[in-house]
Amino acid sequence: MSDQSLPADRRPWILLSPALVFITALVVVPMAFILVYSFYENIDLAQDVPAFQFGNWQELLTDSYYRTAIWKTLRLSLIVTGLAAVLGYIPAYVIAMTRYRHKWLLLLLLIIPFWISFIIRTLSWIHIFGNQGALNGLLGLLGLTEAPLSIMYTEFTVIVGFIHVFLPYMILNIYVSLEGIDQNLEPAARTLGATPWQAFREVTLPLSLPGLAAGCLLVFVLTGGSYVTPLILGGPSDFLFGNLVYDAVVTELNWPMGATLSFALLLFLGSVVVLYSKLMGMDQLSKAFGR
C-alpha cells in the first residue's frame, strides 16, 4: 500500500519544484547576499569593505530611532489594514451576493485601477486634497470654507493613499471566500429564527474569515514594506521603516546598513506571517481561495 502511495506523495513536490527553484533563485539567494552584506563595513560614502562584524546590527538594536520607525510602521500598517478590512468587506459582500447578471463587470471595475501606474494614482490625491484640489474647490464653491483646508501631506493622506492602492487586494480576497460559501446557509439560519444581522454574524462572517484574514495579511505586509506613498503624500514625520532603508541605501550610500535594515524588515514582516500561521494556520490561505 505504501509503495503505491509513494509516487502520489511526491507529486506535490514535483509540481512545486519550478516555483521552488524560482523562489530560491530570486528570493532566498538574494536575501542571503543581503544578510552577508549586512556584516560588511561602510568606511565612507559608497565605499564598503568586506568584513564580519556586528556593528550595523548593534546599531539597529540599540538605537531608539529604529524602534520608533518599527512602531510607526506597525501602527500605520494596523490602521490601514483595519480600515481596509471594514471598507473592503462591504463591496466584496455586495459583489458576492448580487444577482446582477454581469458580475464580471463589477470585478472588472475592481481591477481597472491596476491599469494605471501606482505612482500616478498616488500623485492624483494631490489634485483632490490639495489647496487648489477638487475637494477644496467644492467646499469653496458651496461656501462651506473661506480658506482652503490644509489636508495634504498629513498622516490622513498617507492612509488614504494606502487604502486606495491596497483595497482591491482586500476586496478580492474576501470576495473569493464569500463566493465559496453555500448561499443557502444564510436563508437556512433565517428559517431557524435568526435575524438578518445574526445570520450574517453567526454564519457568513465566520465562514468568510479565511478570506478576510488573507486580505489582512496581504494589506499589512504590503503597507509595512512601502516607502513611496509616505514620500509622496506624507509630511516630515510620516515615514515607515522602508524609508529608512531608502535613506541608508540611496542618500547615505551605506549599503551594509541598508542591508541590515532590509533584512530586519524581512524578519519583522516574516514574523507577522508566522504569527498568522500560528493563529489561523497556513491551510486557511487555501480556504480563502475557495479550496
Binding site: D44, L45, A46, Q47, Y65, T68, A69, I126, G130, N131, Q132, S150, M152, Y153, L231, G235, P236, S237, F239, N243, L244, D247, V249, V250, T251, E252, L253, N254, W255
Partner: protein
C-alpha cells in the same frame, strides 16, 4: 602600382573620412550603396555594412534633473544634435546623483549611463573617487575655450591630468516666497530666518534631498560661516526648528514648483532657475539670495565606459554659444560660458546669480575641503533630524 585594398578596409577608410568630416553622411551612404551595386554583392558584406552604417548612430544615455531643465536641454541641445549627428541622446531624470550611483553599484557597471548633469564639485570628486570617471580629450571640445576658467579650475584641481566633465551652468539656492503673503520688506529683514518664521507654520517648505543644503542654511541661521562651521549642534538645532514648521520636504525641482505654484507653501529655499521659471509663468513668487547664500555650479559629467568621441562631440555641440545660450534661456540658469568672451542676451543677463565679470567672485560656493569630510556623519544626522530625531 596601386595597392589593392579589400572591401572591409575600403569601408573602414570611408567611415573614417565621414567621422573626420571629409565627406557628409549622405555621400557616405551613397558611396556605400554604389559600391554595393558595382560589386554585385547584394545580400553580401557591403549590403550588411551599409545597413550597419545607416544604423551606426551612437546612443548616448543622459540623466538630468527633469522638468524645465530637461525640456530646455531636449529642445535646444539634444534634438538639434541628433539631427546634425545621427546619434541618439536618450535622456532620463533623477532626483539626485546618489540614485545613479546606487544603480551603477547595483548593476556593477556603467552600462546605460553616459552623461550626467552633475551637481557641484563634491559630486565630481565622488565619481572620481569611485573610479567611475572618464578623461575627456579637450582637443575634441574646442568650445571649452569659451568656458569660465573660474569653473574649469575648480574641477581641474581634482583631476589635474584631464577633465571628466565640462562646466555647463551655475545658480544659487536662495529663498523663494509668495508675495501675496510675504512682503519683500519682511523677507529682506529676516533673510535666512524667514524660513524659521513661526507665523508661517505649515506653509514652509524645504529641500529634503541634500543634507548640505539644510546645513548651509542652518549655519546662516545660527550665525556661522557655512564654509567654516564650528558648532554642528547649533546647525541641527536650527534644522529641527525649521522641521517643526515645515509642511513638506520636496525632493525634486518639479515638486518644488508644484508646491509653490499651488500655494501649498509660501516660502522655501529654492533653486534660482526654477523660481525664474515660475516667475515666467506669472506666479507671484519672489526670490532672494540671503547674505552668504549658497551658489553651485553644474557640469556635464562623462562616466567611464562611455563612447568618448560621441560624448565629446555632444559636449562641444552643447557648449556652442548658440546652443548654450538657448539652453540657459530655457532652463533659467546662467551659462558656464564666459560673458566677457561670449555676449549674453538680455534675458540671460537678467537671470538670478548671473555674473557679468565671468569670475564668480561674488558667489559663495561650498568648499569641498571642509564639507566633504563631514558628509558621512552629517548626512546621517540630517536624515534623522528630518524625521523627527
Amino acid at each position: 602600382m596601386t595597392k589593392k585594398i579589400d572591401d572591409t578596409t575600403r569601408y573602414e577608410r570611408l567611415r573614417e573620412r565621414m567621422g573626420n568630416g571629409d565627406i557628409d553622411r549622405r555621400s557616405f551612404l551613397g558611396l556605400l550603396g554604389a559600391a554595393g551595386i558595382t560589386t554585385g554583392l547584394s545580400g553580401g558584406m557591403m549590403t550588411t555594412m551599409a545597413r550597419q552604417a545607416r544604423a551606426a548612430g551612437t546612443e548616448l544615455h543622459f540623466e538630468g534633473w527633469g522638468g524645465v531643465v530637461s525640456e530646455a536641454l531636449r529642445k535646444n541641445a539634444f534634438d538639434p544634435y541628433e539631427a546634425a549627428s545621427g546619434n541618439t541622446v536618450i535622456d532620463a531624470t533623477f532626483g539626485g546623483e546618489n540614485e545613479v550611483l546606487t544603480k551603477i553599484k547595483a548593476a556593477g557597471n556603467t552600462e546605460g549611463h553616459n552623461i550626467l548633469h552633475s551637481s557641484g564639485v563634491s559630486w565630481y570628486k565622488r565619481w572620481v573617487d569611485n573610479d567611475m570617471h572618464s578623461t575627456l580629450n579637450e582637443a575634441n571640445i574646442p568650445n571649452m575655450s569659451n568656458v569660465m576658467t573660474a569653473m574649469t579650475d575648480a574641477f581641474r584641481k581634482i583631476t589635474p591630468d584631464g577633465l571628466s566633465a565640462v562646466p555647463y551652468n551655475y545658480g544659487t539656492t536662495g529663498i523663494a516666497y509668495n508675495t501675496k503673503y510675504i512682503s519683500p520688506e519682511k523677507a529682506k529683514e529676516l533673510g535666512a530666518n524667514l524660513l524659521l518664521d513661526p507665523s508661517l507654520k505649515g506653509k514652509i517648505g524645504g529641500w529634503g534631498g541634500d543634507w548640505a543644503n539644510r546645513a548651509w542654511y542652518g549655519a546662516l541661521q545660527s550665525g556661522q560661516d557655512p564654509n567654516n562651521i564650528q558648532d554642528w549642534d547649533a546647525v541641527w538645532d536650527k534644522a529641527r526648528a525649521h522641521r517643526d514648521l515645515v509642511l513638506k520636504y520636496w525632493s525634486s525641482g518639479a515638486e518644488l514648483m508644484d508646491l509653490l505654484a499651488k500655494e501649498e507653501i509660501y516660502v522655501t529655499e529654492a533653486w534660482s532657475g526654477r523660481v525664474a521659471a515660475l516667475q515666467a509663468q506669472g506666479h507671484p513668487i519672489a526670490y532672494m539670495d540671503p547674505p552668504n547664500g549658497l551658489a553651485w555650479m553644474e557640469s556635464m559629467f562623462v562616466l567611464k565606459g562611455s563612447p568618448m568621441e560621441a560624448a565629446e562631440e555632444l559636449l562641444n555641440f552643447m557648449l556652442d554659444p548658440a546652443t548654450s545660450i538657448a539652453v540657459a534661456s530655457g532652463q533659467k540658469y546662467p551659462s558656464a560660458l564666459d560673458p566677457t568672451k561670449v555676449k549674453m542676451p538680455a534675458d540671460v543677463q537678467a537671470l538670478p546669480a548671473f555674473d557679468p565679470t565671468g569670475k564668480l567672485e561674488t558667489l559663495v560656493f561650498r568648499d569641498p575641503s571642509t564639507w566633504n569630510p563631514e558628509e558621512k556623519a552629517q548626512s546621517k544626522t540630517w536624515n534623522r533630524v528630518q524625521k523627527g530625531g
